[in-house]
Structure formats: C-alpha cells, structure tokens
C-alpha cells in the first residue's frame, strides 16, 4: 500500500545557516541560563568571563562551548582564544563548558554543536575574549610593575618587560580588581603564532591511553544498568507485555514502562540484556508497518508523477534555457535511508536524589539534555547538573535525545542511579535516519558548456518534523505539553504546502551559477524517524548534481573540470579549488586499469573537490586514492583540517559502497556491522589533502568533505565500465 495520502506535512522552516542545515534563529524565551557561571573556581583563580580561568600558578583553563565528537573543536577553539591571549593551546587545560547562556552557539541561539559551524561562529567572539583578557592582564601588570602598559609585551603566557618575564598568573589578583577592556584590536593574520600551525590535538594523548572519559564510562556508586526494548516498527506503542519470565531472571531489579518501550533494569548490563530478551511484548500496528523498501521509491516516483510539489527556488527563464541548450539530459538519482552508527552507542547515566539530579552523557546539545531532565522531573533548573563527556562519534545522531528521556523515566521509577545503554542493534534498528531521496534532474547545456537550464525535483521525507518534535520539549522545558502540541499543530497549519524544509533540498544548485533553474519538492514521509546525518541534505544532493554534471560533460564532449569552471564564474572560491584540482589531475600518474573521477560541492561555507582513483577488481569497485582539494578559509590547525577531510572521505565511502537501511514491513532489516558494513582498513584509500588558502575567515571542516566522494567514485566507475550508476550504494550491473 501507499501512505502518500496520509503523509505528514509538518515541517517548520527554522531558517538556514550560511552553510546549510537548520537553525533556531532566535533566543528562545524561557531557556536561557543566566545564573552563576558553571565553573569550579580554583584557589585564587581568576575568571574574567565564561571562557577562561587563570590561576596564580599560571594555569589557563579554557571552557570549550562546543561538544568534542572528534572534529577537533576543543583544539580549534583553544587555538583561537589562545592566539589573542598569547598562550599556547597545548599548555591549556581544556574542559567541556557546563550549561550557561554565555556558551550558546551564536548562530543557533542555544548551546548545541552541529552544522560544522563552531569555528566559524566562535572565531570572532573567542578572539575578542582572548584579546580583551590579554589587555586586562597587561593593565594589571603595568600597575603592579609600575610601568606603562605600552612598555609591555607578551610571550606565551608571560608578560615581558625589558629582559624580565613574569607569568600571567602573577597579575591575576590585580586583574580581578580592574575593568575588562573592550574591543581590543585583534592581531593581524600575518602575526599569528598558533593559528595555522600544526601540533597534536589537546585530546590526542588521553585518547591514546584509554584515559579519555566518554559518556559510557560514567560509573556512579550503587548504579544499576538498564536496557530498553523498543518498537520494531518506529513509533508503535506497547499493547501488552508479559514480563513473568524476564522478572525471574537473575539480577533483575525492575521492569519499567517508558515512552519508547519497556526498560529492564538489573545489577549488571549483561543481566539486563539477557532478561530483556525474555520479555514478550505485543506492539500496535501502525501504517509504517506496511512499508517495505521497494515501496519507498515507488511512492517517491508517484509523488513526482502527480506533480504535487512545492517550489524551493526559481530563477531566470527555464524554458528559454532549454531552448538555448544544444544537449538536454534527464535522469533520476536515488539515495537510501542511512544510519549514523557512531561507534559509542547511545547511553546516559542519571542520578536523581532528593531535590537534585546529575546526568553524565555525551550529546550534541547539553542544553537539550538538561531541558529534558527538567521537563520530566520538574526539578528546579539550577539543581540539574549535566556532565557532557567526550562523544564517541556524533555525525548528527547525538542531537536527538530520546535516550535522555528514557533514562529519566527509568531513574524516576526506581530509587537508584541508573546507566542506560543502547546495543548496536538498538542503534541501527531503533534510531533516526538520513532520509531516502529521489532526485530527478533535467538539464540543458549549450555548446560553450554553460548549463543553461537546471530543473530539479526532489521527493522524500524531511528531517524537520522529527527535529522539532524532539527539540522543542528539550529546549522549552517550561512550556506545557499541551502548548507544545498546539505549537506543532500551528506550525503544521502555517507551513503545510507553503514552504520547503531547507535541509531537504540544500545543495541542489548552490555550487553553480545556474542562471535558469527551478528546484521543487514533494514531501513523502513514511513515518520513519529522520534526522541530521553528517552533511545532511548535501549527502544525497551532491550525488545527483555531480553525477548529472559528469553526464552533461560526457554528452557535450567536454572535460568535466572545464565544464565546472564554466559554470562557477560567480563562485571565486570554487574556481580556485577547481583550478587546483585540475592541475593536480594533470600531474597524476594513473596506473593501467585505474580511472579518475571528479566531483565538487560547496557546503557549510566550504568548497571541496575530490578526485577518486578507482579500478574494478573481480567485479568489485576498489578506491585506491582520493585527492581532496578544499578551501576552508583560514585553517586553524591544518593537520586537524586534513584529518577531518580524510575522515569525511572514509565516512562518505561507506555510504558510497555499502550503506543502506532497508525496511521490511516497517522494520529495519539491518542489525549490526555484518549487514551494515563500515569501510575497514583493508579498503581504505590513501587520501591526499590539498588546502587552497583564499585567506578568508575559517569555514566548516567536519562535514564538507563528505558530499563529493560518492559522485567522484560514480564518475570514475563510469569511465572504467561505461556504467552510469545512479543509485547509492553503487552496485555494478
């Protein structure tokens, strides 16, 4: 059956960031945390503002406002503030910031991490905070030393006067009495001594010795362990449960109904896990239970055939553009649902005692986690403490906090600290997914290589409805549920049929000039929960756009890089990237039987081109080497930038070669790494990263390396075999 007719159309346009993705563009009322800073003061430590503490023995502590999930944000932001403070970031103690409005992401308006924006949006504020603090220390030193501040300079944590060096810590007592200077002039890029330099990440050592503490490592005396059995078809509710056998299993402490299913609590994880398998649960039937994978694409195609679309972008004269074209092509591209599979499964540890609560976890929104505990327990905000530890991978998955809801419901039902852990099967089968997408592109190209007409239709689900459903209760803990439901309903009414979720269509034309284009969208929502997945909409739109560009070049008999250069005349950064990629390709020695494919894409304000060297061995696609050319503006730590781009290539290759979540009667078929494989060492290509420095402010590095790799490989496969593969994961005929 088809459920298009009952598809939900509630997608609230929250606004698009400069680089894509979603933002909540206002400071939400009732969710600011403006009390005392959540900083433990060291003995006589000086806390000039939310980001720093300086102790008399010259220890500088940096409170990092963004969550470290591997992207190197602790090192990056420490480097930015350290540059202006003049203190080497490697000598800082970097701690995860607690919850406070001063740590809110300036673009999101809430304390959250995502959209590859942390370095970009904190670049200005942290430089200013570092410069003002250094100026303050100089004023204090001038007073203490009886000299003019203009006679003083600094060197990596020391005030220099004449031949004498005094640690910053000598002046913190005086500094605490003085007014903080404002708008201190910032350093010129030419005088940077830490920005642009390469050194080890501040967390590299702890992450090489097993000492780094992740959410899963929290260990509270007396805690018990919980697992949850969730609906095999997402969203189905429990009709009945027979817990007799499970209750009789050794170590079982309690069996607790939670909003997502049934929790089993035991005195060891292994016992909770075993007992959970003895539960007999009957689940309600819901429409998603009728959906299998083949139906998904059929429904997308039917929606486009009906023409029931909403316009996302329209520019120029499409008909005239097609008239001017010497070649016209039309093709459909398809990308499946995907799971994130961060290697650390979802987990949370919560201790509710008397009138307070303490949570240990690793999430992309500490504010959301706190808000959920507040909403569910009714405890005063100031009595809820959240410890956000290292995240064992995020990729967008840790922005959704249903595990925080679960752990809170369990902890409220039993009188003990509790640790909730999802299994890998839970993660793959009961999670949220990258939306499947059908993209139909009709394009015309003139004899001189100008794409004169670009007409795109996208069908699929939107991430915003799930995002809103999950985020609003977390971010507006004071708002009663009835009002939230009203808000959702109002949004549904207001936006249904009138606007397009920006993340559903991002990247379908923005990389190129495309003076005559139209992007339309058909929402087809089967009810599978959807969310951000590293590079969000770009993860599938780049595959369609860059495959079609290659098809046009092939049809027009043009070099694919030249065609891209001809259509990015108004995109100077991408021009620079493409020219560098072209030069790199010309200098490559390609072994016999190997073929090159290229793709380029702009996302998160960063421009990237990737060249994949591919061969076909025993009917299998082998990727030997990837050259990644990127303009990320000023690279704060070029080695970390390279690491992110290398990792993005690997993450994208998993999706290119293996990744697919299939539905069988609404249930996710895949369950663990044997049937949801991840790229492994023996198939990992060498990656050569070339950074093109246009000298601008820093832009995103975590996500932009993902989108180009799938089309780069697909375009190389076409060269190798003549087969144009228009569906992910790539599968040779």
């Amino acid at each position: 059956m088809s459920i298009r007719n009952v598809s939900r159309r509630r997608f609230l346009k929250l606004g698009a960031t400069a680089g894509g993705g979603l933002i909540i563009g206002v400071n939400l009322p009732g969710c600011s945390f403006s009390g005392a800073l959540p900083i433990e003061q060291e003995s006589d430590g000086f806390i000039p503002h939310a980001f720093l503490q300086i102790t008399p023995d010259n220890q500088v502590i940096f409170y990092c406002p963004s969550d470290e999930m591997g992207q190197g944000v602790r090192t990056g932001l420490a480097t930015i503030i350290g540059e202006e403070l003049d203190f080497h970031p490697q000598n800082m103690l970097v701690k995860a910031a607690g919850l406070h409005k001063d740590y809110a992401n300036p673009e999101f308006g809430v304390q959250a991490t995502g959209g590859s924006n942390a370095v970009r949006v904190f670049w200005g504020p942290l430089r200013q905070a570092g410069a003002d603090t250094r100026a303050l220390l100089l004023n204090a030193a001038a007073q203490d030393l009886g000299v003019s501040a203009s006679e003083l300079t600094t060197d990596n944590g020391y005030v220099i006067v004449g031949g004498d060096r005094f640690p910053y810590g000598d002046f913190v007592t005086t500094a605490a009495q003085l007014a903080m200077p404002i708008e201190t002039p910032l350093k010129s890029n030419a005088s940077f001594r830490y920005i642009g330099k390469e050194f080890s990440r501040v967390d590299a050592l702890a992450k090489s010795t097993g000492a780094a503490e992740f959410g899963i490592d929290a260990d509270i005396p007396g805690m018990v362990y919980a697992v949850v059995v969730r609906a095999p078809v997402a969203g189905a509710r429990v009709l009945s449960v027979d817990k007799t056998a499970a209750e009789a299993m050794p170590g079982v402490v309690a069996i607790v109904p939670v909003s997502s299913g049934i929790a089993v609590v035991a005195n060891a994880y292994w016992r909770a896990k075993n007992a959970s398998q003895a539960l007999k649960i009957s689940w309600e039937n819901i429409p998603l239970g009728q959906i299998s994978s083949a139906q998904v694409r059929t429904d997308f195609e039917a929606a486009l055939a009906e023409g029931d679309t909403v316009e996302a972008s329209n520019q120029g004269e499409l008909a005239a553009g097609f008239d001017a074209a010497s070649n016209t092509l039309e093709a459909d591209y398809f990308a499946p649902f995907l799971a994130h599979t961060p290697l650390e499964p979802m987990n949370a540890t919560l201790h509710i005692s008397d009138n307070s609560a303490e949570l240990w976890t690793g999430v992309q929104s500490i504010q959301g986690a706190q808000g959920l505990v507040e909403r569910l327990t009714g405890l005063p905000r100031s009595n809820i403490r959240v410890n956000n530890l290292y995240l064992g991978g995020g990729f967008g998955r840790r922005g959704t906090l249903t595990h925080i809801v679960e752990v809170t419901e369990i902890a409220m039902a039993i009188d003990k600290p509790v640790q909730l852990l999802w299994s890998r099967e839970d993660d793959i089968q009961n999670g949220l997914y990258r939306p499947a997408s059908l993209m139909r592109i009709k394009a015309g190209v003139t004899t001189d290589g100008t794409v004169s007409a670009w007409d795109v239709q996208r069908a699929g689900g939107n991430i915003t409805s799930n995002t809103l459903t999950n985020m609003l209760p977390a971010l507006l803990p004071g708002l009663p549920s009835s009002l939230l439901n009203g808000l959702s309903g109002f949004a549904e009414y207001l936006f249904s049929q009138w606007t397009v979720d920006p993340s559903s269509v991002e990247g379908l034309h923005e990389t190129y000039d495309f003076e005559n284009h139209r992007i339309v969208h058909a929402t087809v929502d089967h009810g599978l929960p959807l969310t951000f997945w590293r590079s969000v909409g770009h993860s599938y739109t780049a595959f369609a756009v860059e495959s079609m560009i290659d098809e046009l070049a092939n049809r027009a008999g043009m070099d694919p890089v030249s065609l891209r250069l001809a259509n990015t005349q108004n995109k100077p950064r991408m021009q620079g990237v493409l020219q560098t990629a072209q030069a790199a390709m010309k200098s490559m020695t390609v072994p016999d039987g190997h073929h090159l494919g290229i793709a380029a894409h702009s996302s998160f304000a960063t421009d990237v081109a990737e060249i994949a060297e591919v061969s076909i061995e025993n009917g299998e696609i082998r990727v030997h080497k990837v050259t990644c050319v990127a303009d990320v503006g000023t690279a704060i730590n070029p080695d970390i930038v390279r690491a992110q781009l290398e990792g993005a290539v690997m993450f994208g290759l998993t999706a290119t070669l293996y990744g697919r979540i299939d539905l069988d009667q609404g249930k996710v078929k895949q369950s663990n790494f044997h049937d949801y494989p991840i790229l492994r060492m023996d198939r990992a290509p060498a990656v050569d990263v070339i950074l093109v420095d246009s000298g601008g402010d820093p832009t995103g590095i975590g996500e932009p390396g993902v989108p180009p790799i799938a089309p780069a490989v697909a375009n190389a496969v076409f060269k190798a075999t003549g087969q144009r593969l228009r569906e992910l994961p790539l599968k040779l005929a």
Binding site: S208, I216, P250, W270, R424, E646, M681, A684
Partner: protein, 160 residues
Amino acid sequence: MIEFELNGQPVVFNGASDTPLLWAIRDHFKLKGSKFGCGAGLCGACTMHVDSTAMRTCVLPVAAVAGKRITTIEGLSDDGLHPLQAAWVEHNVPQCGYCQSGQIMSAAALLSSNPRATTDDIDQALAGNICRCGCYPRIKEAILSVAALSYDATIEETSA
C-alpha cells in the same frame, strides 16, 4: 569464581561466568579504556590481549580466560607510553577516540609477533577494527613509523 591475571595482577571475578570479559573488566574491575561497540566481535573496540593474542572480549565469556593473562590498554605499557601510543599522538591519529584503545591493542599484538609489519600485514591485522571517524591512513602511518624504528634498530644492531 574465576581467577585470571589482569595487567600483571591476580584477580578474582565472582559474577556470572557467561559474562563477556569486556563487562567484567569495565563494570567489575572498573577499567574503562576498553570499549563496547557492537557486542558481536565485529568492530574491535573491545580488543584486549589474552596471553598476548588480540581478542574481541565482548563475545568472550569470562570463564574462557580462567588462568590466563589479560592485558588491557591501561596495562599495555608499565613504563610511560608504549611506542605505538607515542606514535598515535605524534601522527594526530584520534578523532572521537572511541575505537583507539582497540586499534592500539590490535596493532601492539601485531608488532609483538611481527615487529617489521608491512602495509599488507597491517591491513590484515587491523581489518577487524572499525574506525567510524575514518582515521585509517593515520593509524597505518603510525604503525609503520613504529615498525620502521624496529627495522632501524635491527640495522644498527647488525652493523654494530
């Protein structure tokens, strides 16, 4: 009651004998460096050494290690950093870091049996360890750098 040696110390485990070694180590002995990733021996995050062999401990019942020597990331080196750990920092290997204990334990087992491991040896020995962040090229470089040290040392010994 199961007795074994953990990082050089004799220990006793009194919990259920079918408990996977990983959970005994993490939740009973409170050594948290070894990680849970899949529970099926597919990702390698839980890798420890059992009598010098790298094993996936999320599927290894604790009863199976009675009388054996278990080494975890915490016990890999009793004298500062293991050369691989130093190489990991030097090559800026970790991203999220969650898999790295397992990667290092697999690499250490490889180098202890094959000090001059080649790229192919590494591909084979580390293929059981998933890194979702995709640090593979750096993991490989870091291991090769330690293998090269061993190679250089051999040359020096030979020429001395």
